[in-house]
């Protein structure tokens, strides 16, 4: 029997106190995902491979419902499609009871195709076209108005429609966060929002204002900011009822709740610094319950949580292609997934785990993707065991935004599998092929 081999390596020992954070959690090998061996997944479905956990999706959804539903009588989640609009993911959430939050015409069709009734679809976004507005009105989706041009276009269109479109107003407001998101919706503090509400109230024969919406940012780390936003929306709703006799049915506080990923440049890892969803639920519901609504007038509370529901339910399995040394002696590791698949590596220092045992020797390495592009850097410096070509790695918490913002650039997008509650593996999006890629191309006759 020969001894297990690991490439020869010497590590310079630096004087100084040992890390107060103890051993790095990333070094624990992850041999299975939801009970399925990672080696079996890679052998069967290839590498790289996105792996989704149905169990974690459901767990996250139920935890969110619990956080808000135990504190407030009427709560509804609307799944934010752009976070991950693979139909399998959307359908898990819809089965759990989620409405849909969409921001484009094709997302609206996707939600309808997933069986969501039109009246349970909230249509956000600054870029709705005339045809989108007509389609939304036709299926009775709620149109969240973003700007005055859209409001006036809808009023014009509504004049010719058989039934009144239902609308909500997107509000931007000062919740004490910096930078303040003021590019979407109507500003509260400068009177724009009230002006729009008056305009809608005056056109109540053509459109029905039923909700107020705000989405103060993404990965917002201050629960108190949501309390401020909820308080301001509640006051605005009460003013609608009082001054315009236009009661507001729902307040939509948007999404933006952080997952436990570690933001780039953060000093401490995400799990140690990100407030739990309960803190956000507490801030929002306390503000609403304390706003002075009569019990029978309490509006429905809608949340459009995205990443907090899906981020930790997705992993990316990938392989080491090569290791090399840079001019200054630093180690570089090239893996088979790049920023084309892992868009969120621009925001996060993703936790990356080995998948088998190694010696305790570790090495700091730059992690490069396979693209022939300078931007393709996944981690500037990450401490990993002595990896060899062919070794598998797991990147954690990649469920949000990657499977929608990924790019087909230089490489084709890989398989995505979902591991169900029984541990069965299902392909939910097949790996792309050259034929798929070229099916929309046309070669002019003179070039054939």
């Amino acid at each position: 029997m020969k001894l297990p081999y690991e490439r020869p390596h010497i590590r310079k020992l630096t004087a100084g106190p040992p890390s107060k954070f103890g051993p790095r959690p990333g070094q624990q090998p992850v041999t299975e995902l939801d009970g399925v061996p990672v080696t079996a997944l890679a052998a069967r479905y290839g590498s790289p491979l996105f792996v989704l956990s149905e169990r974690q999706l459901r767990r996250n959804y139920q935890a969110a419902v619990r956080a808000f539903g135990t504190r407030y009588p009427q709560v509804q989640l609307a799944w934010s499609y752009k976070t991950n609009y693979l139909n399998a993911v959307c359908r898990v959430f819809h089965q759990e009871g989620a409405w849909a939050e969409v921001v484009s015409g094709f997302e609206l069709e996707k939600a309808l195709g997933n069986g969501v009734p039109g009246h349970q679809i909230l249509f956000n976004g600054p870029g709705k076209r005339r045809a989108d507005l007509l389609r939304a009105a036709e299926v009775d989706a709620v149109i969240h108005l973003d700007h005055a041009d859209e409001l006036h276009l809808l009023l014009e269109l509504a004049a010719g429609l058989p039934q009144r479109p239902r609308v909500a107003l997107r509000i931007n407001l000062d919740a004490g966060t910096f930078p303040q998101w003021d590019r979407f919706g109507f500003n509260l503090e400068n009177g724009q929002a009230w002006q729009a509400i008056e305009r809608l109230a005056a056109a109540a024969d053509r459109v029905e204002l039923i909700g107020l919406h705000c989405h103060i940012g993404t990965f917002v780390l201050q629960p108190a900011a949501y309390g401020v936003a909820a308080g301001k929306l509640a006051a605005l709703a009460q003013r609608c009822a009082r001054e315009l006799q236009a009661p507001i049915q729902y307040l939509d506080l948007g999404g933006g709740f952080p997952s436990t990923n570690t933001l780039k440049g953060a000093y401490l890892p995400g799990p140690d610094t990100v407030p739990p969803l309960d803190d956000y639920a507490e801030a929002i519901t306390q503000a609403l319950l304390g706003a002075g609504f009569r019990p029978d007038e309490l509006p429905l509370l809608i949340l459009e949580a995205g990443r907090v529901l899906v981020d930790d339910a997705g992993s990316l399995l990938g392989s080491v292609l090569a290791t090399k040394r840079l001019a200054d002696g630093r180690r570089a590791t090239i893996v088979d997934f790049g920023v084309n698949l892992l868009f969120t590596s621009y925001w996060y220092d993703h936790l990356i785990s080995p998948t088998r045992d190694y010696s305790p020797q570790t090495e700091t390495t730059v992690l490069y993707g396979p693209l022939c592009m300078n931007i393709d850097v996944l981690r500037e410096a990450v401490s990993l065991p002595l990896l060899a070509p062919g070794d598998l790695l797991v990147v954690h918490k990649v469920g949000a935004y990657n499977m929608s913002q990924w790019q087909q650039f230089i490489t084709l997008r890989p398989n995505v599998v979902l591991i169900d509650m029984q541990g069965e593996v299902h392909v939910v999006r097949e790996a792309e092929t050259l034929a798929y890629l070229q099916q929309l191309e046309k070669v002019p006759g003179h070039l054939r």
Binding site: K2, L3, P8, H9, I10, L13, R325, G329
Partner: protein, 80 residues
């Protein structure tokens, strides 16, 4: 290829360079190779010994050998 004669090498895999005060930890394969070099083994003989003892293909060892040489050079542990 020769390790600087002043470099101290311990059985636990610690290297110490008295000229600079730097110390290093070597993993088992590196320690084995450094031990052989210390005994003046020729590179080919050292590689043969590693191939006989460890689960590794010759082409992989060749690549990793060059990488080890680069590390030793970077830390100024080689004689020439």
């Amino acid at each position: 290829m020769k390790l600087k004669p002043t470099i101290a090498l311990s059985a636990a895999g610690l290297l110490f360079n008295p000229a600079t005060g730097d110390s290093f930890s070597a993993n088992p394969v590196a320690l084995e190779i450094l031990g052989l070099l210390r005994e003046d083994a020729a590179p080919e003989a050292a590689k043969t010994a590693v191939l006989a003892r460890y689960e590794v293909e010759a082409h992989q060892l060749d690549k990793d050998w060059d990488d080890l040489v680069a590390q030793l050079r970077q830390h100024d542990l080689l004689d020439s």
